[in-house]
């Protein structure tokens, strides 16, 4: 496969994309020109303005199609690839039992004002997701799921009490970057409360995280859309047991 590709409309290399947006101006010829200017700045050339509709008094919605000349360089793509083996529940249990020789303690929560527990429950509760059982089902893991809207101090306290090896935090609401603020508050609190070698592995997850931001947020890993419990369990084993936790 070539390492350079372009978007595909109906022909190899045609570079075609679709975009839509609103500008805070009423609809007239000039507004259409403004939309085309924006499209040009996004790299659409030629750009076809195919739809424009005024909304209320001062806004217009546009749909623009066109060719972008940007090249997608596949060899420069940055992703967090899974850099650990994917284990079965049985393998996880065996490894924990053999190498850790005690139950691995996990504390999970939805922090801040976020009350979306379905995601963290999918990872932690027996019920699981996508046909996989959650971490509670793993005999050698001890899971405490604190649920929704847990404050950061309560979370730190629970982690201490449970001697957590890992803390799993879910953040679903992203408006005004709520998920980033809350995550930063959480990592700061753990840094403050516990010395590095006692700090549990810090993991956040949620559908709108950028997985590349782990360092920036001070967590050990970010899990995004469509994560399954096995991936998380495998990561825990990999970090805590195989490599020894390299905590921050």
């Amino acid at each position: 496969m070539s390492t350079i590709v372009r978007p595909y409309g109906d022909m190899t290399g045609d570079g075609m994309v679709q975009t839509s947006f609103t500008l805070p101006i009423p609809h007239d010829k000039k507004a259409e020109g403004a939309a085309l200017q924006l499209a040009a700045k996004m790299g659409l050339d030629p750009a076809m303005l195919v739809h424009a509709k005024q909304m209320g008094e001062g806004f217009t919605f546009f749909v623009v199609y066109g060719r972008v000349n940007h090249l997608v360089e596949l060899d420069k793509v940055q992703v967090v690839e899974r850099d650990f083996p994917l284990l079965t529940a049985k393998e996880v249990n065996t490894l924990v039992k053999k190498k850790l020789r005690r139950k691995l303690s996990v504390v999970g929560a939805c922090i801040g004002t976020d009350a979306h527990t379905v995601g963290i429950d999918a990872i932690l509760n027996v019920k699981g997701i996508a046909g996989e059982k959650g971490l509670e089902y793993y005999r050698e893991l001890k899971v405490v799921n604190l649920g929704a809207q847990v404050t950061v101090p309560d979370l730190v306290e629970a982690a201490r009490k449970e001697k957590a090896d890992a803390v799993l935090v879910s953040q679903v609401v992203t408006q005004r970057d709520a998920h980033l603020h809350n995550t930063r508050e959480m990592t700061a609190a753990f840094r403050e409360a516990l010395p590095a070698h006692k700090r549990p592995l810090l993991i956040v997850g949620g559908p709108r995280f950028d997985e590349l931001m782990a360092d920036e947020l001070g967590v050990d890993r970010i899990f995004g859309r469509g994560t399954t419990p096995r991936e998380v369990a495998s990561f825990l084993v990999h970090k805590i047991i195989e490599k020894g936790s390299e905590k921050k």
Partner: protein, 519 residues
């Protein structure tokens, strides 16, 4: 006879079971009070404002009374007793003094008690009079500007977090066809044990419910109503730890609908069940008086539980909500009972299953407006598919005669709605309602066919579950996860410490007035 050929006896039995299952909880509510109920009473009596840290004087005053004598007598008598003994005529000033430690409270007795109650009655009556005036004004405006021309009413959400961005968006939405505007609350508000003050610009995924925000938005929509020749309704949330107070503020600021479920806070905010049941009864009495339509939250169950397996829990909850609402004095036209289009769209015949469920609700509650909620759980980032699903949701809405249609957004799985999402969504609604206006005439579920069978099955399952609940007790059933697969024991959850059992001689002038009216 409806389209489903429901058995009247089964329906009557289900209703009777709901009443029997609910009555013990009503008894609980009649014999307890909460900090928020008491604060609501003070708000009706005229208290307002907050201290320098933003703690409302209502909270400060209730806390002061509680410290001195506990909550079990209600705050009205001790507070108005203090007013009489200190000679203070302004409740807010009294609260300030109490906060400063210069006023102490007692349980007045005999003549003092009578005097205090009379003073409290007078003050609360002023608040109720405002609510009554607002209700009359709403009626007049509806007479003048008219109700929406079509059913269902079109209900749109605004959720910027900033009241000053919300206002133009709400007005734009109204202009584009919205009949009802709901201002979603900031994620954290339901767990705050006080109502913030003033105009706010700092919410996350929603805007704080405050008296001033209510006022600003209602005024803006009054302008829109005038401009559009159609009374545009305003909705907010009487839920969370301050449910009773927010209900009072809604009445005082002429809100038109309120989200107000008897169990939502328990299940989805982990608020203590008793706290919730006490609070919801008081708030519903206020809504009844204010002519506010309540919206219940059965749709939420289907975001955590499966919409086919647990369809009957929606029915059970609707019947319970209906019973609690009637008991609190609400009329049928005020019952926006909730249900939702949340079946996995990949399921064969999913659309017909939706029709069956929606029609069942329609036929069980023929005089209630019913609030029909759009797909959320199975919405994905594929916004093209999302808009399509919303179209079929709208279609069920018009084919089954729903009363209030919460407009679904193609970006449901992505962001809180953008301005353009609302416009696209409204265009979707308009197309479907207009193009399929009379289609319900041609919709005749095959006798004994798939749709009728499914509806009968759900009703039967609901009746069975009600029998279990009646046997176990509602609180136990909730503790065991009967709804939305959330388990909530009665002795856990937030806000339990704000609950108090009535002492002998508990006095609440608001309840007295409101119950008087309800009879």
């Amino acid at each position: 006879m409806g389209k489903l050929h429901l058995d009247n006896d089964v329906v009557a039995k289900a209703r009777a079971l709901a009443e029997r299952a609910g009555r013990p909880v009503v008894d609980l509510a009649r014999s307890h009070t909460t900090v928020s109920v008491e604060r609501a009473v003070l708000r009706l009596a005229g208290i307002s404002g907050a201290d320098a840290e933003g703690i409302p004087w209502a909270n400060r005053l209730v806390d002061a009374v509680r410290t001195d004598i506990g909550l079990g007598h209600g705050v009205a008598s001790p507070v108005f007793d203090a007013m009489l003994t200190t000679g203070e005529s302004d409740l807010t000033v009294l609260a300030q003094k109490a906060a400063a430690g210069s006023v102490r409270f007692r349980v007045p007795e005999k003549k003092d008690a009578t005097a205090a109650r009379r003073a409290a009655d007078r003050a609360v009556k002023t608040g109720i009079a405002t609510i009554d005036r607002n209700r009359r004004q709403r009626d007049q405006m509806i007479k003048k500007y008219g109700d929406p021309k079509q059913r269902p009413w079109i209900y749109l959400i605004v959720a910027t977090g900033d009241i000053y961005e919300d206002i133009p968006q709400a007005q734009a939405a109204a202009r584009a066809g919205a009949d009802v505007i709901a201002v979603i609350r900031s994620t954290g508000q339901s767990l705050l044990d006080f109502v913030p003050e003033g105009a706010t610009r700092e919410g996350f995924a929603g805007t704080y419910a405050t008296q001033e925000n209510f006022r600003l938005m209602r005024a803006a929509l009054d302008e829109s109503s005038k401009e559009l020749g159609r009374y545009v309704r305003l909705t907010n949330y009487a839920s969370g730890l301050c449910m009773p107070e927010i209900a009072a503020l809604a009445g005082l600021q002429r809100l038109d609908m309120m989200l107000n479920d008897s169990m939502y806070g328990i299940l989805f905010r982990d608020i203590n069940p008793i706290r919730t049941f006490v609070d919801q009864r008081f708030s519903r009495q206020v809504h009844a008086r204010a002519g506010i339509i309540i919206n219940t939250g059965e749709d939420n169950y289907l975001t955590t539980a499966d919409a086919v397996d647990e369809a009957h829990t929606v029915t059970v909850s609707q019947l319970l909500n209906e019973y609690f609402a009637h008991e609190a004095g609400l009329a049928d036209w005020q019952l926006g009972l909730g249900h939702a289009f949340e079946i996995n769209p990949d399921l064969p015949e999913s659309f017909r299953l939706e029709l069956a469920h929606a029609l069942l609700a329609r036929e069980l509650f023929p005089d209630a407006p019913l609030k029909w909620m759009p797909p959320t759980k199975h919405m994905t980032g594929d916004v093209f598919r999302g808009n399509l699903l919303d179209g079929f949701f709208n279609l069920v809405g018009t084919m089954t005669g729903q009363g209030i249609l919460l407009v679904g957004m193609m970006t449901e799985a992505v962001v809180t709605p953008w301005l353009s999402d609302r416009d696209i969504a409204l265009q979707n609604v308009r197309y479907v309602l207009n193009a399929c206006r009379g289609l319900h005439e041609d919709f005749v579920p095959a006798p004994g066919g798939f749709i009728q069978q499914r509806a009968h099955q759900v009703l039967d399952e609901a009746t069975e579950l009600l029998e279990t609940i009646e046997r176990k007790g509602l609180l136990t059933a909730i503790a065991e996860g009967a709804f939305g697969i959330m388990k909530r024991p009665a002795d856990r959850g937030k806000g339990l410490d704000g609950v108090a059992k009535h002492e002998d001689g508990y006095y609440n002038p608001a309840t007295v007035l409101l119950e008087g009216a309800a009879q």
